[in-house]
C-alpha cells in the first residue's frame, strides 16, 4: 500500500492508520523488535479499530465520540461506532508525525490557551481544519479534569450535536470503608440508564439485554486476561516490556466489548508473561544481551507519548523495567452479567475505576494509596513523575505526594515538567538527561 492510499478522508485519522498499519507490517516482517512494546498483536487491535471508522461511515453506522473515562461497551452493544477522541489525539502524539504539533498550534491560534491540555487541543486543532471525522453524537464524563470538562464543551459547541454528560461525584475519603460509598453507585448507574436511552434515541437503535450481555462478556474476557497479566508483572524480573500495561489500557479503551483482536492481545500478553516466568527469563535479559533487570520503576503519571522509546532506552541503558504506569494500572473488575441491574452497577464501578480518573477525581489519598500499594506490590525501587503541563490537579499535589511516598515507602520520586504530547516544551533528550542524572546520583 502506498502512502497516498492511506490518505482517504481525514488527515488525523489517516495518519494514525498509516502509522499503525505500517508499524504492524514492519513488525510482521522483522518479528518483535527488542524493547518495543508496540508488538504486532497490539497493532492489530489498533488497525482494526481505526479501519472500522471508515467501515462505519460506509455502512452509515452512527458514530459516537466519547472521552476516555466512558467505557465503550455500550456503544458496541448498540452497534454504534465508538470514536474515542483521546485515541486520536494521544495516538497521533505517539506516532509523532509532527502533524499533531500543527494541530496544537492551530488550536492555540484560534484562541485556546497554551496551558490547556493537548489531549483535546490536538483534536480541536484538526477539527477546525476539517481533518477529523465528524461524530453524530457525543458522550463525556466530568472526570478526570477541568480541561476535559471544558474542552468537550468546546467540541459540543462546535459540532452542535446531541450530547450526553456524566456527572462523576467527588468521593469522600474513608480509609476504613469501601472505595464506593452507598450513594455513588446508584447515582452513576442511574446516569448509565439515561445514557442508554440517549444512544438508543440518537442512534435509532435498541440495546437488548442479550446484546449487552454478549458485549460485556467479551470485555470481561479481555479484562480477565489483562488483570492476570498485571498480576504477573509483580514478578521479578519483569516478564514484559515497559509500557505493556499502557498498551492494554489503550486497547480496552478502544475496543473493550468486541471479540477478536482485543481479547487475543490480552491473552497473548498473559501467556507470554506466564511462559517467561516459567522459563525463568525476564524481558530485559531476553532482549538485551548479558543484561539483567536492575531496577523497577513505577511511572506515576501518564507516559511520555511523543517519545515512548524512552522506556526501552531506560531498559537498555540502566536495566530499568517500568513495570507499571498510572494508565496501565487497571482496578476495574469483570462485570457481573447475571442481570441488567448488575451490569449497570458494575459498569458504574468501571467508570469510577478508570485509570487516571480514579486517581484524579477524588481527594489525594486515593492517589497516594494507589501509589503506595503499587510500590509495595510491584517491588518498586523508585518512581518517576513526568508531570504533564495540562494536568493542574496533578501538579498541585506532586510536591506533597513526593514527600509522602518517600515517608510511607522509603522510595524516592523523580518529578519533572513535560508536555507529554508536545516535544517542543521539553525535549526527549532533556528528559533522558534528567532520568540519567537521577539514576546515577540517587540510585548508584
Amino acid at each position: 500500500m502506498s502512502l497516498d492510499e492511506y490518505k482517504v478522508k481525514y488527515e488525523l485519522w489517516d495518519n494514525l492508520r498509516q502509522f499503525f498499519t505500517i508499524g504492524r507490517n514492519l513488525i510482521g516482517e522483522l518479528g518483535s523488535a527488542p524493547g518495543v512494546s508496540f508488538n504486532g498483536e497490539f497493532m492489530n487491535v489498533m488497525v482494526d479499530y481505526l479501519n472500522n471508522l471508515y467501515e462505519a461511515e460506509k455502512n452509515k453506522t452512527p458514530i459516537a465520540m466519547y472521552n476516555f473515562c466512558v467505557p465503550p461497551e455500550l456503544f458496541y452493544a448498540a452497534d454504534i461506532y465508538p470514536l474515542c477522541q483521546e485515541i486520536g489525539s494521544v495516538a497521533l502524539a505517539i506516532a509523532n508525525t509532527q502533524t499533531h504539533m500543527g494541530y496544537i498550534d492551530y488550536a492555540e491560534e484560534s484562541g485556546l490557551a497554551r496551558e490547556q491540555c493537548n489531549a483535546q487541543k490536538i483534536w480541536i486543532g484538526a477539527t477546525l481544519q476539517d481533518k477529523t471525522p465528524r461524530p453524530d453524537m457525543m458522550v463525556y464524563a466530568s472526570q478526570p479534569c477541568d480541561s476535559t470538562n471544558i474542552l468537550y464543551q468546546v467540541m459540543k459547541n462546535y459540532y452542535n450535536i446531541p450530547t450526553f454528560t456524566f456527572d462523576i461525584p467527588y468521593w469522600h475519603y474513608d480509609e476504613k470503608n469501601e472505595f464506593y460509598d452507598e450513594r455513588t453507585l446508584p447515582y452513576l448507574s442511574g446516569q448509565i440508564k439515561k445514557m442508554i436511552a440517549f444512544i438508543e434515541e440518537n442512534g435509532k437503535t435498541k440495546i437488548t439485554f442479550d446484546k449487552l450481555k454478549t458485549t460485556v462478556e467479551n470485555s470481561n474476557k479481555a479484562r480477565e486476561y489483562t488483570l492476570e497479566f498485571l498480576e504477573l508483572m509483580k514478578h521479578k524480573p519483569s516478564p514484559a516490556a515497559s509500557l505493556t500495561p499502557f498498551t492494554l489500557y489503550m486497547t480496552l479503551m478502544a475496543a473493550a466489548g468486541t471479540s477478536g483482536a482485543v481479547i487475543d492481545y490480552a491473552k497473548w500478553c498473559r501467556d507470554d508473561a506466564k511462559e517467561k516466568i516459567k522459563k525463568g527469563i525476564g524481558h530485559i535479559s531476553e532482549n538485551y544481551r548479558k543484561k539483567e533487570e536492575k531496577f523497577r520503576c513505577f511511572w506515576v503519571y501518564i507516559p511520555i507519548f511523543f517519545d515512548p522509546m524512552i522506556f526501552s532506552w531506560m531498559e537498555q541503558k540502566f536495566q530499568i523495567s517500568t513495570v507499571m504506569d498510572m494508565m496501565g494500572y487497571q482496578m476495574a473488575q469483570p462485570i457481573d452479567t447475571s442481570s441488567e441491574e448488575s451490569i449497570l452497577t458494575d459498569m458504574a464501578k468501571t467508570i469510577l475505576e478508570m485509570p487516571m480518573a480514579r486517581q484524579s477525581r477524588g481527594p489525594m489519598e486515593y492517589y497516594l494509596d494507589d501509589v503506595v500499594k503499587i510500590v509495595k506490590d510491584y517491588q518498586i525501587d523508585f518512581c518517576i513523575w513526568g508531570g504533564h503541563l495540562g494536568c493542574k490537579h496533578s501538579w498541585a499535589v506532586a510536591s506533597m505526594m513526593k514527600k509522602l511516598i518517600q515517608e510511607r515507602t522509603g522510595v524516592p520520586t523523580l518529578v519533572f515538567e513535560v508536555d507529554t504530547m508536545d516535544s517542543r516544551v521539553v525535549k526527549g533528550k532533556e528528559i533522558r538527561k534528567t532520568i540519567q542524572n537521577f539514576v546515577t546520583e540517587i540510585l548508584q
Partner: protein
C-alpha cells in the same frame, strides 16, 4: 451611609467586621452560606486581598496552578487565616480541590468540611447535593453543639435573599443611562457582602440605596461588562474606569453569579438551598442539560441587552482551564453578534498593570 464603610469591609483579612463571631471561610460561590449563618457563624469568602506573596504556596502547589490558590495557601501556611474557626472547601475546580488536599496535611483548620458539588442540576444531582448539605448541617451541629432547626435556617435564607434583592436593585440602577455609582464602588459593595455579617450589610446597603439619588452623576463615555471567573479586587475595575469607561454589570462568581438567584422560601429549606445553588447562573464547571455554556451565553446576552453594554471584557486567571475555555467560546459567539470583546489574562496578585491599561485603552478606543 457612606461608600467608605463598604470599603472597610474589603480590607485585608481579618477586617473589623470579622471580630464578633466565629468565622468560617469558604472557597466558592457554591457554598450554601445560609447554613453556616444558621449555625450562628459568620461565612466569608476566602480571598487574598492585600497579600503580595505566593512563595510558600508555590512550594506546595506549582507554577501551573492559579495564583488565587497559591496566594490563599500562602496566607494559610503563614498563619494569616488563623483567625478562622474553620474552612469549607469544594470540588469547584482542579486548583481549589487540590489546594484543599494541601491544607488538610499542612495546616488543618479546627473545623473543616468538604462538599461534593455535582456538575449537573438534574433531580438526582439536586438530591445528591441535598444529602451533602445535610452532612454539612450535621457536622456543624456536632462541632458547635447547636441545633440548626428549619426555622433558623428559614430565617437565614430570608436574610440572604434580602441581601440578594438589595444587591439586585443596585444592579437595576446601573441599567440607567444616568449613573450615580461607578462600577468600582458597586463592586466594592458586592464584595463587602461576602466579607461581613449579612444583618449589618443589609442595613448598610438599605441606607445606601435610600440616598442613592442624592449621589452625584458619574461621567463616562462607554458602558462595559466584565466576564470571568474569580475576581475580587476592585483595582481591576478601577483600571478600566480610570480610562473613561464605566463597568455597568458583570458575570463572575463574586458578582452577578453570586447574587442573581433566590432560594425558594416556600420549600423545604435544605432542598431549596440545594436547588438554588445548583440551578443558579452556572460557573463554567457545570455541564448539565439546564446548567451549561448555553445558559451562560443566554445570561450574558441578556445582560448586554439590559445594561446597554458597549463592549465586554473577559478576564481569566492564568491556568484557569474552565474560564479560559468558556471565554474562548463566548468571545467567538459575541463576535458573531457584533459585540466588541477584549480578553485579559491576569494573575490574582495585581501585576502588569501598565500593559493591561494599554490593552484596555486600545479596546475603549475601538468602542468609541
Amino acid at each position: 451611609m457612606s461608600i467608605e464603610d463598604f470599603y472597610e469591609a474589603i480590607q485585608p483579612v481579618p477586617t473589623k467586621y470579622m471580630k464578633n463571631k466565629k468565622v468560617i471561610g469558604s472557597f466558592c460561590s457554591y457554598t450554601p452560606e445560609e447554613l453556616i449563618h444558621a449555625a450562628g457563624l459568620l461565612p466569608i469568602r476566602m480571598n487574598g486581598r492585600g497579600h503580595k506573596e505566593t512563595a510558600l504556596g508555590d512550594s506546595f502547589l506549582s507554577k501551573f496552578n492559579c495564583t488565587f490558590c497559591r496566594t490563599t495557601l500562602d496566607m494559610i501556611l503563614k498563619n494569616k487565616y488563623d483567625f478562622l474557626d474553620g474552612i469549607i472547601s469544594l470540588n469547584s475546580c482542579d486548583h481549589i480541590r487540590r489546594t484543599w488536599d494541601n491544607i488538610k496535611y499542612e495546616h488543618p483548620p479546627k473545623f473543616s468540611h468538604f462538599l461534593s458539588v455535582p456538575h449537573h442540576a438534574s433531580p438526582a444531582a439536586i438530591k445528591w447535593y441535598t444529602d451533602e448539605i445535610i452532612k454539612l448541617k450535621n457536622h456543624l451541629e456536632t462541632s458547635y453543639n447547636i441545633e440548626i432547626t428549619n426555622e433558623r435556617l428559614k430565617e437565614s435564607i430570608k436574610l440572604f435573599n434580602k441581601s440578594r434583592t438589595l444587591l439586585k436593585s443596585l444592579y437595576e440602577k446601573r441599567k440607567e443611562s444616568e449613573l450615580k455609582i461607578t462600577g468600582t464602588d458597586a463592586f466594592a459593595i458586592i464584595i463587602a457582602g461576602t466579607a461581613m455579617e449579612k444583618e449589618i450589610f443589609n442595613e448598610m446597603l438599605t441606607r445606601f440605596l435610600e440616598t442613592y439619588d442624592e449621589r452625584p452623576k458619574v461621567d463616562y463615555d462607554r458602558r462595559v461588562m466584565v466576564v470571568g471567573s474569580l475576581i475580587d479586587d476592585i483595582e481591576y475595575i478601577k483600571l478600566i474606569e480610570d480610562l473613561g469607561a464605566v463597568v455597568v454589570t458583570d458575570a463572575h462568581c463574586f458578582g452577578s453569579k453570586y447574587v442573581w438567584d433566590m432560594v425558594d422560601e416556600t420549600k423545604n429549606p435544605i432542598e431549596a438551598l440545594s436547588e438554588r445553588y445548583l440551578k443558579k447562573i452556572p460557573c463554567s464547571r457545570m455541564i448539565g442539560k439546564n446548567v451549561n455554556h448555553d445558559v451562560r451565553r443566554a445570561f450574558i446576552k441578556s445582560m448586554i441587552k439590559d445594561f446597554y453594554v458597549d463592549g465586554v471584557i473577559f478576564e481569566s486567571l492564568k491556568f484557569c482551564d474552565l474560564q479560559g475555555g468558556d471565554n474562548y467560546m463566548m468571545i467567538r459567539e459575541l463576535k458573531e453578534l457584533g459585540v466588541p470583546t477584549l480578553e485579559l489574562d491576569r494573575e490574582y496578585i495585581i501585576s502588569g498593570m501598565s500593559q493591561m491599561k494599554t490593552r484596555v485603552q486600545a479596546f475603549l478606543e475601538v468602542l468609541a
